[in-house]
Amino acid sequence: MALARFLDERMWRLARSGRAHFAVPCSGHEAVGAGYAFALRAGFDFVAPHYRDLTAMLVLGLTPREVMLHFFGRAADPCSAGRQPYAHWGCSRLRIISLQGPQPNHVTHAVGVAWGSRLLGEDSVTWISFGDGGAQKGEVHEAMNFAAIHRLPCVFCVENNGYTQSVPAALETAVPTLISRAAGYGIPGRALDGMDVDAVHAVAVEAIARARAGEGPTLVEARCYRYLPNTSNDDDTRYRSREEVDNWRERDPVMLLRAKLGSALADAIDEEAITTAADAAEWAEAQRPPDPSGVLEHTYA
């Protein structure tokens, strides 16, 4: 989580200073990603991640240097070889399902992946994360309905940070908690504190076990907060107060984890994370960009 935070801050500065095109902050979502990723069997279970799940990507096996290759759009970018902007995760080797631009189409793909795993006779589970904004889209209903009907081995996780870019939750939904929708599909719903990594992990373990046992999907709602603007192209001062942001700093998931670890251990972790993040950025920026001669490749097999 500390590594994700330092990578995040570094990417933010690089994008704002014009050395990269686009940053998508994860700060405030670290506990969600870490909580569910540590509950999965990395490389065996499938993940359709939210674009703010940098922490989960690191836990599942993307290295900081690989993250930065993706961020800078270098030839060796493992997610897209320079074809997609940052935070469009994907890596078949790690079973991270390719993430697209329009949110949250990957929810439906992941339901197909979960069904496919069952058809192939494999007991892998598919974890599906998306935002509270994405949760309002019609296709999420289609996907959850299908998964519930067939008791597919998957978990739906809404990372609810209270905003769809600038639009607050009150204009997204009339219900106070999105897990009330679970009843409409006949599946369990679990709301939890998404700033507390242990709380996320405990619920994730339970939901994943349920999915693996063939009992079907669970809808999880992790309440969290995004500290930085939506992306490096956003200005969040137009739609939320600094007081609100500062109030949420009291519940900063990285700080909460530091408190659990004790400052000596936490400081040591931070020190290593800062060095790792700096090395990853410096190394990746110096790597070769994609060769334009290949720009037409991979449209077809």
């Binding site: 070889a81 439906t108 197909g112 979960a114 058809l119 192939l120 296709e139 077809y300």
Partner: protein
């Protein structure tokens, strides 16, 4: 060979591929117990079970998106969208996802899925059960689009689509399902994606079509044959990528192109075919390409006379081809009809006849050619070669262009043409005669000769001999 309908051939392809590859699964509305509203999946639920043949909720976007996920996971989903009119709801996952998965991951993830859907009008389905959707999807790099017209192609193309490493949209014209029956190979049968076929040979015009319009085009070709017009009919079979090789090969022989489709006109497939032909075969075109399509109309109405007024049919195709044959490109010069290196001289004589009777004219010219052998000859640098026989090449206008054969050319464009026209000497000949339109009992004959073989005195004598014979 036993015969099947198109829908039976589709069903057989699905069954054989499911038998062959356990990764093939079916997903769609009413495809299970009912066997599909067109019965394309009849019996497959009983045969392969509810894990591989799944009746989906009525949710086209979900069907397409789940199929994308299945394909990314390594399965071979075949999704059915019941009517092509409903595929717009699924377009985000077809255009935005299936088509881009391979590219956006540089091949790390792939999407080998098939979407079958029933399209096309003519069965009184109204605006939402009759549409043609090919142009939307044939515009999307990353997709492949096929549209079989015959039972054997329906089986062969669907089999190839299921085995293809990329997403394929299979457009099945719903009228062909039961109306079109034909021989289908029993065992494994593949038709390669991206290959068109010549459905009928012909030499005068190329009609390019697919789906149900192929059958209308073939019927039109038979009607045209009765008018001595031989149409070559191309079945595209695959709409993305189009087999331009087979189209170009045909148009280079016929010089005329007519594209027929049931989809609407603007930005349609016909525009693409006409554009490519214009880019790559302009020199061979006798006339500008013609498109015969559904007009740009807001929907396909249900009432019989309204729908019938819109959908192209064999009669409309016949008329389009007739109009095409009467047109000529402004820059056209037919190969072998003109050689600018021949030094020409033209003489004119006035003949007194009320009407020009073609057989009398040809007889007069034949006799005169026999009497003046230099005008029935060919110039060569080592001497003048006299042709042993008189064989007249007769040009009666765009409907009957002259054959390349012949030892002397006679041009008669009839009463509607100009009074005086100057003919050109064709390679291999030394003279050509053009008959003008008769006016007040007078006809002007213009004779052009190759001056290297025929001098002016002989040309004048020849003309006067023809005049004399015609006035007898």
């Amino acid at each position: 060979m036993r015969e099947l309908t198109v829908v039976e051939a589709v069903r057989e392809a699905l069954e054989q591929e499911m038998e062959r590859d356990s990764r093939v699964v079916l997903l769609g509305e009413d495809i299970g117990r009912l066997g599909g509203v067109f019965r394309a999946t009849d019996g497959l639920l009983d045969r392969f079970g509810p894990q591989r043949v799944v009746d989906s909720p009525m949710a086209e976007l979900g069907i397409a998106g789940i199929a994308v996920g299945l394909a990314m996971r390594g399965l071979r989903p075949v999704a059915e969208i019941q009517f092509a009119d409903f595929i717009h709801a699924a377009a985000d996952h077809l255009i935005g996802e299936a088509a881009k998965v391979r590219y956006r991951t540089a091949g790390d993830w792939t999407c080998p899925m098939v979407v079958r859907t029933a399209y096309g009008g003519g069965f009184r389905g109204g605006p939402y059960h009759s549409q043609s959707v090919e142009a939307f999807f044939a515009h999307v790099p990353g997709l492949k689009v096929v549209s079989p017209a015959t039972p054997s192609d329906a089986k062969g193309l669907l089999t190839s689509a299921i085995r293809d490493p990329d997403p394929v949209i299979v457009l099945e014209h719903k009228l062909t399902y039961r109306a079109i029956k034909g021989p289908v190979p029993e065992g494994e049968y593949l038709v390669p994606i991206g290959s068109g076929s010549v459905a009928r040979k012909g030499s005068d015009v190329t009609i390019v079509s697919y789906g149900m319009m192929l059958h209308e085009s073939l019927a039109a070709a038979e009607l045209l044959a009765a008018e001595a017009l031989e149409a070559e009919v191309i079945d595209l079979r695959t709409l993305l990528p189009i087999d331009f090789h087979v189209v170009l090969d045909s148009v280079r022989r016929t010089g005329r192109l007519c594209v027929v489709h049931e989809d609407t006109r603007t930005m349609g497939l016909g525009a693409e075919v006409a554009a490519v032909i214009s880019e790559r075969a302009m020199e061979q075109l006798i006339a500008p390409p013609v498109r015969l399509t559904m007009p740009d109309v807001g929907g396909i109405p249900v009432a019989d006379p309204l729908e019938d007024a819109l959908i192209p049919n064999r009669q409309a195709i016949v008329e389009a081809v007739r109009s095409l044959v009467h047109r000529r490109a402004w820059t056209h010069s037919r190969p072998l009809t003109f050689d600018p290196s021949i030094p020409e001289a033209t003489s004119v004589v006035e003949v007194t006849v009320e009407v020009v009777k073609l057989h009398a004219l040809l007889e007069a010219v034949s006799r005169a050619c026999g009497e003046f052998p230099n005008l029935n000859a060919e110039f060569a640098w080592d001497g003048i070669r006299l042709h042993p026989q008189v064989r007249l090449a007769v040009d009666l206008g765009p409907l009957s262009p002259p054959s390349a054969e012949g030892t002397f050319t006679v041009i008669d464009y009839g009463p509607g043409s100009s009074r005086l026209g100057i003919p050109s000497v064709r390679p291999g000949q030394t003279a050509a005669l053009r008959v003008g339109a008769p006016i007040n009992g007078q006809v002007w004959l213009a004779l052009t000769v190759d001056h290297r073989a025929v001098d002016g005195a002989d040309a004048g004598r020849f003309l006067n001999r023809v005049k004399q014979l015609m006035e007898q």
